[in-house]
């Protein structure tokens, strides 16, 4: 039987095998034709792609421009900083690589993984920053293991540095990693993931100047993605330096004044609008935000009840209180409701529209004219004005004199404030305007809300006897065009038509308030003709105040001062608010005096 096998007929299966082989020959021909197509016909296309692969473009980050004060003192600079990045292409095993890197950097592997996953879509050779601001020990530790860890690289980058910490933090703003939403915006079209961009303040407003131009290095890289040779290099160009109008000493003084007191200070040149000092407390240290990896701290600050990130000079909304009285006076004079000789008798109280109204001095001021009404901040005089001027006129003059509009200062985020009128009340509260409310507005209470910067601009306008000025942080003659926040459209403000004599009358009252026996006399500076007005703005409604009084808790008002000096040819405006500081004369005025004094000593 077995022997038969030798002679069995295998021709059928041998034939099938040969047919299969014929098919294999056909597939071989097809295979070679496919390679012909790819290697010969499409050669150019693939060759170009492979060249792009071999030559790697490395971005060289530019240094940001410096920020100096008006005398050239460097307030914001750059320091060298090391960052560690992972190149995924060089990882043999991702999880193992994350673990090794995490161990070396004392991080959690999850943190590294999360970080890398965030940039999943980036090319594999692009370094992903996993840790920045490395210490020298960390750099040494990584360098020593360089060859075991081809996936981890150390890069030097310029890092923003604020040498004075929280100094002028609201003016500068801070930098943070660019957000995916910002990446979509046209103005950031050349920026990369992981770049740090200005988020507020001057850093944001002048980002386009400060950022500089990215350099480029074309490198041939080796098998591990390391540089072998540099083919060409375009150095990064440092961003433009910016000279601010700030005066270091005045800014420092302003911040000392506010130390541990919530509030805001603006010091401004009335002629040019240059801001010499802009302080807001509580403040923050922008150095802490530059780090890409401590968002908790930032979120804590964001959610802090004191709002340290808020720039109170442009975003703090306060009741103006008595510093609104010059506005009323100018309206009264311009409308001819009163003149310099009109007298009202202050007995310390008055019934208006059936409601008792009190002067802050319960024994009364006796007969007062417009100058002494401003000097002594007599409420009764302004109640009488409030009875005689329509609320529409009051709001018109308030707008004319700088309230209810943005000042167009060159940092973003400015608030408009609120100048109420019947139409506003109908629209927002769906209620009619009551005449009693006009009386409240007449002494700067009621729904009226202003920002400290608006008050400073308003004061400059009085000092200039009617000439308007736009506040600016950029020094006036620095040769750089001022850039306005995008949100600020140009509105048509009412034109100023008040005669110079009316301003002179108000200025006389403000001068007397400081230099004679007025409410602002604590701001008096020898050999410097300071004119000023204090305010003590009620923070709570009268009902709430009664309740607080019953609980024997101290009710403190916001303490305002605004003024300028010297009286003729004014050089400086100082506006100051201390939240819950009590009377303006007691708290704000003496601090303002210190600023006037410092300015006089430095510049006169």
């Amino acid at each position: 039987m077995k022997n038969n096998k030798i002679y069995e007929d295998l021709s059928l299966i041998q034939m099938r095998a040969q047919v299969t082989f014929a098919i294999v020959v056909g597939v071989f021909v097809f295979l070679l034709l496919s390679f012909w197509k790819i290697q010969i016909l499409d050669y150019q296309k693939f060759w170009k792609k492979s060249e792009a692969n071999r030559i790697r473009q490395i971005a060289l980050p530019p240094q940001r421009g410096l920020i100096t004060d008006r005398n050239g003192k460097i307030l914001v600079k750059n320091i060298a900083s090391f960052k560690a990045s992972i190149i995924r292409e060089n990882c043999k095993d991702y999880d193992e690589a994350y673990e090794r890197v995490a161990r070396l950097l004392n991080l959690q592997p999850d943190v590294v993984k999360e970080r890398v996953d965030k940039y999943k879509s980036a090319p594999l050779f692009q370094p992903i920053v996993v840790m920045d601001d490395l210490t020298h020990e960390e750099v040494a530790r990584i360098e020593a293991r360089k060859h075991e860890l081809p996936e981890l690289i150390i890069q030097l980058e310029p890092k923003r540095n604020y040498p004075f910490g929280a100094f002028a933090s609201h003016v500068f703003g801070y930098l943070q990693e660019i957000s995916p939403a910002e990446m979509e915006m046209e103005q950031y079209q050349n920026r990369r993931l992981g770049d740090l961009v200005g988020k507020t303040g001057v850093e944001k407003q002048y980002e386009h100047l400060l950022v500089g131009t990215e350099g480029q290095s074309l490198q041939i890289v080796d098998s591990m993605g390391r540089e072998i040779e540099e083919i060409s290099r375009t150095d990064a160009i440092r961003g433009q330096d910016i000279m601010l109008a700030l005066d270091f000493d005045l800014q420092k003084k302003a911040e000392e004044i506010l130390e541990n007191r919530e509030g805001a200070v603006v010091v401004m040149k009335p002629k040019t609008g240059e801001i010499l000092a802009m302080a807001s407390f509580p403040n923050f240290d922008p150095n802490k935000f530059i780090n890409r990896f401590s968002p908790e701290e930032w979120i804590d600050l964001m959610n802090s009840p004191e709002f340290p990130l808020e720039n109170r000079t442009i975003r703090g909304l306060y009741s103006p209180g008595s510093i609104f009285k010059p506005t009323m006076a100018l309206a009264g004079l311009d409308l001819n409701v009163v003149n310099n000789h009109t007298m009202f008798n202050c007995r310390g109280g008055l019934i208006v529209y059936g409601q008792p109204r009190a002067c802050w001095r319960s024994e009364g001021h006796g007969p007062v004219n417009i100058t002494s009404a401003i000097e002594h901040s007599c409420n009764i005089y302004f109640y009488e004005l409030g009875k005689r001027i329509h609320i529409d006129d009051i709001s018109r003059y308030a707008r004319m004199l700088g309230f209810g509009y943005k000042t167009h200062v060159d940092i973003p985020g400015e608030k408009v404030g609120l100048v109420p009128d019947p139409e506003w009340k109908r629209r927002v509260r769906n209620e009619p305007w009551y005449p009693g409310e006009t009386i409240s507005v007449a002494i700067g209470q009621g729904p009226l809300l202003v920002t400290p910067l608006q008050v400073a601009v308003h004061t400059a306008l009085i000092a200039n006897k009617g000439r308007k000025v736009t506040p600016r942080l950029l020094k006036a003659d620095s040769g750089i065009p001022m850039s306005l926040p995008e949100e600020n459209g140009k509105e048509n403000r009412p034109r100023l038509s008040i005669p110079t004599s009316a301003f002179e009358t108000v200025i006389q009252g403000m001068w007397r308030a400081v230099n004679v026996k007025g409410t602002a006399r604590a701001a008096k500076v020898s050999q410097f003709d300071v004119c000023g007005k204090t305010g003590s703005a009620q923070v709570v409604s009268s009902e709430a105040a009664k309740k607080l009084a019953q609980q024997k808790r101290e009710i403190k008002t916001h303490s305002w001062f605004t003024g300028f000096a010297p009286r003729d040819n004014p050089e400086i405006v100082v506006t100051l608010i201390v939240e819950y500081g009590g009377g303006g004369g007691a708290t704000a005025a003496p601090s303002a005096g210190e600023l006037f004094d410092l300015y006089r000593k430095k510049y006169d």
Partner: protein, 363 residues
């Protein structure tokens, strides 16, 4: 056990082609891994020597004896596959390795030899023009048990590499139209169900990006695209040995294993591709034409299944490098780095030699 006649009848040309292809492979492995730790070309050379010795030793055993005991080999292989599923060391994410003293061996590769012998035994007494249902189902079941075990490891590439053996057996045994249609339908159904339920995400992406590689050039399409760029940028003459930027610059993944042919395309160009294909073709042709040198049916089956197995792996791998086939994790037989695969292919060719050298023997 080998007499002089048999020794004279050893197909030295086939062994020569086998070694020549392996040496070409080692040269390319050197180019694609010389900057990596772990001296792959030397290891591959050692594997070649070991495989060559195994090939010669294997010749001493008459293939008819091996076929007789094939069921035992098969059961032992299944047992080992099952055991490593339970106890296996986890290497490279799959449980497919057994650690020996110096080398590691994938039992799933060796299983292919056992399957070839077992299927040859099954079909040796079978003389009808087309395959009857019973044999068809039985042989398919015998193949799918180890395929399933290997796929569970999970090593889809190797599991896929087993299927051509069954295809070879079916081609020889003859399929009527109904069987052919049934197999096609089964393939589509198994493919669709597997795609939906069993494939891991990365495998599914591999299939999807085969169709749209440009959609996601840095995701799973990356491998295909980089491989195509490597091949295409080689042009007619190539960039030169050790000078392929794609391979030398790490843009190409798995250069010394699954994508070794892309290194050939890039560094040696179309000329190199043609030369290596010709060399490979000579080997495959010699295998296919050996079916005429068998004295019995078992021998024809063995030779043909070996030829189909190596041919299919070759085509799948090469078409994968130019994006005509999904990345399946199938190495290029003889050229890719990998000891188990090399040993298996040498043993398979050893079976062919075994059949051929005993063709004039009277039993």
């Amino acid at each position: 056990m080998i007499d002089q006649t048999q020794f004279r009848n050893i197909d030295w040309i086939l062994i020569g082609l086998l070694v020549l292809n392996t040496l070409v492979g080692i040269a390319v492995i050197y180019s694609s891994s010389h900057y990596l730790p772990g001296n792959y070309p030397l290891k591959q050379l050692l594997w070649m020597v070991v495989s060559l010795i195994a090939l010669i030793v294997f010749l001493y055993l008459d293939y008819n004896v091996l076929v007789t005991y094939s069921l035992y080999f098969y059961v032992i292989c299944l047992a080992i596959l099952a055991l490593i599923l339970v106890f296996g060391r986890l290497i490279a994410g799959t449980k497919s390795w057994i650690r020996l003293e110096f080398f590691q061996i994938q039992p799933s590769e060796i299983t292919k030899i056992a399957l070839i012998l077992l299927l040859a035994k099954l079909f040796s007494d079978f003389k009808a023009r087309t395959i009857p249902k019973r044999e068809g189902v039985l042989s398919a079941a015998l193949v799918f048990v180890p395929v399933f075990l290997i796929a569970l490891q999970p090593d889809l590439g190797t599991a896929l590499g087993v299927l051509p053996i069954l295809l070879g057996a079916f081609i020889l045994a003859g399929m009527n139209k109904r069987t052919l249609i049934l197999i096609l339908i089964a393939a589509v159904v198994v493919g669709a169900v597997g795609y939906g339920f069993f494939l891991k995400d990365y495998q599914r992406e591999r299939i999807t990006t085969l169709v749209f590689p440009e959609e996601d050039p840095l995701g799973s399409g990356y491998h295909i695209l980089q491989s195509k760029i490597a091949v295409g940028s080689g042009g007619l003459l190539g960039k030169g040995y050790l000078k392929g930027s794609q391979s030398q610059l790490h843009f190409l993944p798995a250069r010394h294993t699954d994508f070794i042919f892309a290194v050939v395309g890039e560094e040696l160009g179309f000329i190199g591709v043609v030369l290596i294909c010709v060399l490979y073709f000579l080997l495959l042709a010699r295998l296919f034409l050996s079916v005429n040198s068998s004295r019995d049916r078992v021998g024809v089956y063995i030779i043909f299944m070996v030829a189909v197995m190596i041919t299919c792996q070759f085509f799948i791998n090469v078409f994968m490098t130019i994006g005509f086939f999904p990345i399946a994790g199938i190495p290029l037989p003889l050229l890719s780095y990998g000891g188990s695969s090399l040993l298996t292919n040498y043993l398979a060719v050893s079976l062919v030699l075994n059949v051929k050298m005993r063709r004039f023997v009277n039993i």
